[in-house]
């Protein structure tokens, strides 16, 4: 009964109901969509990790990346439980895959699970397992492929014998998985790597997921603004009803319970709708996210979404939590409301000066916190905490700052209508403040992230031009072919620059040491952020190494410091080079030294300098008989790098647009719910001789002015955000720091969109006012009777 009476309110205020549900639905959708993306990616890492290790298992490896198979037998016969792995990149059908060769009898249980339902005899005699997406990518192939969800995307799981044959690794293995206790004494040339591939991926991609989560949380917060304003208004409008019900003897407990029940019902409906929408959104965004993770981190994430009850339940829980958060205040006030409290619809949301002062105090406190975090904090989490505090401070400060602007504008105004316009805007600010805060957050996030991405893009493109100087690169099939290629090419091109590397732990981080031939190509083009004197000569003289920015920043190592290279001890750091798009630590030494330090390291790629790339390409294809897939020309490489870059931030852009849309919806919801209240304020002006058209125009102008002022306020906040992203978050997450660049054209575009969003949000109430003629205004006076 009580619930029925309460619910009847919504039948009469359908728009309010729609806004409440839409707000909660959108908030849940954005949150759960992001969570679904994260869950999918994390699941994929777990799959990858399970395939090549037992939980927390270590692996034994050699710095050169290869071990003799005999060592495996020797260790087993000594009672050390290890399982061999032979892996490498391999062209299959239409694509390049990681061929992962395992020995199923000794492999850890996770690996065996991938084969659980399969045809083992077929596996042992040359069959493979791959993710359905990979099977489709490969297309026609000689290998019998069985689709399996347990294999990461981009990997083909085969027997070790099959892999050795395909990869030209007879009697060689890549590393050993330790499935039992570690040996008492480590055999010579072997080392234990505690972190397995999955954990590495987890660590590297954490920042990306934290990023997504932060965006999801921001969107959720913006959505809650809508819900809070709708629930709050509905509460105030029903004060009279509550009073009546209480007077009729409905116990406070039942009334509160009914209101809570109503809220729960809405949370359930909106939560379910939000989950559906979130799923659709995640499914639409996943291919880009997967491409980003693959391109940036080599993380094998499939591009098709799988439903997981975990994030669904989490999303629903968030919907309830959000509704509770937004409606809790209303419930609390109901609980404390005297039976015969006067109805005071206009008192709602008219935040007194005191409320605004508290907001300012809160903003200052948060600002101080952000300052402390900025000065003393370190780590990714502190970075995000700093961002959250600063953004919240800026949001809380928004109403006060706008009020100040409007007060100053009113001082300057002379005409009575203009004076009224400013005064009225200021007076209505508290009612709009939640929505304006949401707009402020969305705009600041847009400016900040946009500036960060644009700064990054500008730097990245310049860096690519410098770094990708080789006209083409060739990927040999194995070490033997690499030698043949080098011999074949030497007389035909200006220079052949072989790329060799060994995996290494540098300053405690996973990474690699690369060989660099002393050649003008590198001296002239290789960009350095910081360099010691005569760095190139000293590099050629084997007096030290170059390291990448990631390593320099994470380990705090700069020219003048020393870094330990495997087999070489501490060597001087001669320079630091930017290395965007690569998550791992790197060091470069000269080729001759490298070959002495790590003999017999296979050449992975050959960079070619030539004046006539077409002829070289033709020679490689026709005379040498290389496959076209093994050759990458400069333009391709650049296009690929740029494509990876663009995809990386596509998801960011999409979330930006969504956040701005939610903020526009919040404004719309607020303006619609306030439009009844506005009539009372506008009627006297109409009676005093302003036309309805003028009033509607003023309403639109007010929305635009507020949007414009908010945009102006959002600019410094957005730039601060960009600076934090570039100088703190990027450094922590990726290991590189970029200069902040300003792109006013982007701001103009954003201002245009913000204005458009604001116009769209205010158009409907204004249009209703204008279309109604004086009728709705007259009704204000008619209520008198």
């Amino acid at each position: 009964m009580t619930l029925q009476a309460l619910l009847s309110h919504w039948a009469r205020n359908k728009m309010q109901l729609a806004m409440l549900l839409a707000g909660l639905t959108l908030a849940t959708a954005l949150w759960s969509g992001v969570q679904a993306l994260n869950a999918q990616a994390r699941g994929a890492y777990a799959t990858a990790a399970a395939l090549v290790s037992t939980d927390g298992a270590a692996r034994l490896e050699s710095p050169s990346g290869q071990l003799p198979q005999a060592l495996f037998v020797e260790l087993r016969r000594a009672g050390v439980l290890v399982s061999p792995v032979a892996e490498g990149r391999f062209i299959m059908g239409d694509t390049r895959v990681t061929l992962l060769g395992i020995e199923p009898l000794t492999a850890p249980p996770g690996t065996a699970a991938a084969l659980a339902d399969g045809d083992l005899q077929g596996f042992l005699s040359g069959g493979g397992y791959a993710h359905p997406e990979t099977v489709a990518q490969i297309g026609a192939s000689d290998m019998a492929l069985t689709p399996s969800q347990a294999v990461p995307v981009g990997t083909v799981l085969v027997d070790i014998g099959t892999a050795q044959t395909a990869l030209g690794m007879a009697d060689q293995i890549s590393h050993l998985m330790l499935t039992g206790p570690a040996p008492d004494a480590m055999p010579e040339g072997l080392r234990m790597a505690q972190a397995d591939a999955g954990a590495e991926l987890d660590g590297l991609t954490d920042s990306f997921h934290l990023n997504l989560t932060a965006f999801g949380a921001l969107a959720f917060a913006v959505g809650l603004f809508i819900v809070h304003s709708a629930v709050g208004l509905a509460f105030e409008q029903r004060r009279g009803l509550f009073r009546t019900l209480r007077s009729l003897g409905v116990p406070l407990r039942s009334l509160t319970l009914a209101l809570a029940l109503e809220l729960a019902l809405m949370a359930l409906i909106a939560g379910l709708a939000g989950l559906g929408l979130g799923y659709v959104m995640a499914a639409a965004l996943l291919p880009d996210v997967a491409a980003t993770l693959r391109g940036l981190y080599g993380a094998p994430v499939p591009g098709s979404l799988q439903f997981s009850p975990v994030w669904a339940l989490a999303g629903l829980a968030m919907a309830f939590a959000g509704a509770g958060l937004a409606g809790g205040q209303a419930l609390w006030r109901l609980w404390h409301m005297p039976v015969l409290a006067p109805a005071q619809p206009r008192a709602w949301a008219i935040a007194s000066g005191r409320a605004m002062r508290w907001q300012v105090v809160g903003a200052l406190a948060l600002g101080a916190l952000a300052f402390v975090l900025g000065v003393f904090g370190s780590g990714l989490f502190a970075g995000f905490a700093l961002l959250a505090a600063a953004l919240l401070a800026a949001a809380l400060l928004t109403p006060a700052a706008l009020a100040l602007c409007l007060r100053m504008a009113a001082r300057l105004a002379r005409a009575p209508v203009v004076q009224w316009f400013w005064a009225d805007s200021r007076q209505n600010l508290p009612r709009l403040s939640l929505a304006l805060m949401a707009l402020m957050l969305a705009l600041a996030a847009n400016i900040g992230v946009g500036t960060m991405v644009a700064s990054f893009r500008a730097t990245f493109i310049g860096w690519l031009d410098q770094r990708l100087v080789a006209e083409m690169t060739v990927t040999p099939r194995d070490a033997a072919q690499a030698r043949e290629l080098e011999a074949f090419l030497t007389s035909r091109v200006d220079a052949v620059l072989p790329l060799r590397r060994v995996d290494a732990t540098l300053a405690g981080q996973p990474g690699a040491v690369y060989a660099m031939r002393d050649h003008a190509t590198f001296r002239d083009n290789w960009p350095l952020i910081q360099a010691a004197a005569d760095s190139w000569d000293r590099l050629a003289g084997e007096q030290g190494a170059l390291i990448n920015e990631q390593l320099a920043r994470r380990a705090g190592l700069w020219p003048g410091d020393r870094v330990a290279l495997p087999g070489a001890g501490d060597v001087a750091i001669l320079g630091v080079y930017p290395d965007y798009g690569n998550p791992l630590a790197q060091a470069i030494v000269t080729e001759d030294w490298f070959d002495r330090l790590y003999p017999d390291t296979p050449t992975r790629q050959l960079a070619i300098r030539t004046d006539d790339p077409d002829a070289t390409r033709a020679a490689l294809l026709d005379e040498f008989g290389l496959t076209a897939q093994a050759i990458t020309d400069q333009a391709q490489a650049k296009a690929l790098s740029l494509a990876i870059f663009e995809r990386t931030f596509l998801i960011t852009g999409a979330l930006n647009v969504l956040t701005l849309s939610v903020a526009a919806l919040a404004l719309f919801a607020t303006l619609v719910t306030l439009s009844g209240l506005r009539l009372v304020q506008l009627a006297p002006l109409w009676a005093m001789g302003l036309t309805v058209r003028q009033l509607a125009g003023l309403e639109l102008a007010r929305a635009l002015v507020l949007a414009g002022l908010t945009m102006v306020l959002a600019l410094p906040v957005g730039l601060m955000l960009a600076q934090v992203l570039l100088a703190v978050i990027n450094v922590q997450a990726f290991g590189w720091r970029l200069p902040l660049q300003i792109f006013p054209a982007d701001w103009a575009r954003l201002a245009f969109w913000a204005g458009l969003a604001m116009l769209a949000a205010s158009a409907w109430p204004a249009w209703r006012l204008w279309r109604g003629g004086g009728e709705p205004l007259l009704r204000v006076f008619a209520y008198e009777r």
């Binding site: 016969r77 009898l105 065996a112 659980a116 070790i160």
Partner: protein, 349 residues
């Protein structure tokens, strides 16, 4: 389930599809099959027979420490072939599985090892004899000229137990069935089967409480085949018993639509008498709850013709080999018309 089970579905515990062609000497997939009348030759037949589908080297030992406490040890190497023949490298069709068991009156330890043939992780060499998988081994210590099995060293080790035993044979090899051709069903399934049942054993057990010196008696079974069980046979109960008067009894029953029994009565001098189907009878006398199932751990064995009536009781009823392929295997004490000790293996429960 997992991949290893798939591989070892070829083990005797599961029915083998390939039937018949017995007279031709090979089955449909090219595996050799046992033939009646083919004489076993040593040391050749101590080694592996890669043309046959399955094979094992199976050693059990009943042991006592200085205080007379009973122990049991098992060392087994199974060979299973995906295709007949042997080749080098990962192409080898041979797959190896090692089982080690160690029974005390209150604990039973078990461990397993797997390996592919062809790469040297596991193999069996006939002369000088050595069977190995990882660091587990059964190595002949016999002097030149003596039978390789007349003296052996076996060792196995896992995270929480291990043993190292030396075995000296006090009698000859014993061929089961008809000169080693052992029939396994009324339909004629058969294997080659011989034993060395006359070992005296000394050695050390590594237990969580520390090393224990033990002595006792051991029994080695060698068997290979390609088609061991009839399709309706679900499992078996197999006994190897050393009586105090020096006689040995090997007896088993294969459970199926019709129970098939067989056995060998061995004199202290090593003269063997094959016991045909029906000569022995095996009657469960009591079960124990083991690994979630009822398992008959106490038996009555009768051989009415000889007035033999034995009751068996396990040293540890929980002698469960909790491995990829699981079964009950442990030492037993024998009373009745004769006293003795032995080993019992039960599969298919």
């Amino acid at each position: 389930m997992n991949v290893k089970v798939l591989l070892f579905c070829l083990l005797p515990a599961a029915p083998v599809l390939a039937q018949g062609f017995a007279g031709l000497g090979t089955d449909a997939e090219g595996f050799a099959v046992p033939e009646r009348g083919r004489a076993l030759q040593f040391p050749r037949d101590h080694g592996a027979h890669p043309d046959y589908r399955i094979e094992w080297w199976y050693l059990t030992a009943t042991l006592q420490d200085a205080d007379g406490r009973d122990y049991g040890a098992q060392w087994t190497l199974f060979r299973s072939a995906l295709a007949p023949g042997e080749s080098e490298g990962w192409d080898s069709p041979q797959v190896w599985m090692g089982h080690a068991g160690l029974t005390t009156p209150d604990t039973h330890f078990s461990a397993e090892r797997f390996a592919r043939g062809g790469i040297g992780q596991a193999d069996v060499a006939a002369a000088p004899f050595a069977a190995r998988i990882d660091d587990w081994h059964m190595t002949s210590t016999a002097p030149d000229g003596a039978d390789a099995y007349s003296a052996l060293q076996i060792a196995a080790r896992d995270a929480d137990f291990g043993y190292d035993l030396r075995l000296e044979a006090n009698g000859p090899l014993v061929l089961h069935g008809q000169d080693g051709y052992s029939v396994k069903s009324a339909a004629g399934q058969a294997s080659y089967y011989y034993s060395q049942p006359f070992y005296s054993v000394t050695g050390t057990l590594d237990l969580p409480g520390g090393p224990v010196a033990v002595t006792g008696q051991g029994w080695l079974d060698r068997e290979w085949s390609s088609q061991p069980l009839a399709s309706d046979q679900t499992g078996w109960d197999w006994f190897s018993i050393v009586l105090e008067d020096g006689h040995r009894l090997m007896g088993f029953q294969l459970r199926g639509r019709q129970t098939f029994t067989a056995g060998t009565w061995i004199t202290p001098q090593g003269q063997a008498t094959a016991l045909p189907d029906g000569a022995l009878s095996f009657t469960p006398q009591g079960t124990a709850q083991v690994a979630g199932r009822d398992i008959p751990v106490r038996w009555q064995i009768d051989w009415p013709e000889q007035g033999l009536s034995l009751q068996t009781a396990p040293v540890n009823p929980q002698s469960w080999m909790d491995l990829t392929v699981s079964y009950w295997e442990g030492p037993i004490r024998v009373t009745g018309s004769h006293d003795g000790r032995g080993y019992l293996e039960m599969t298919g429960y």
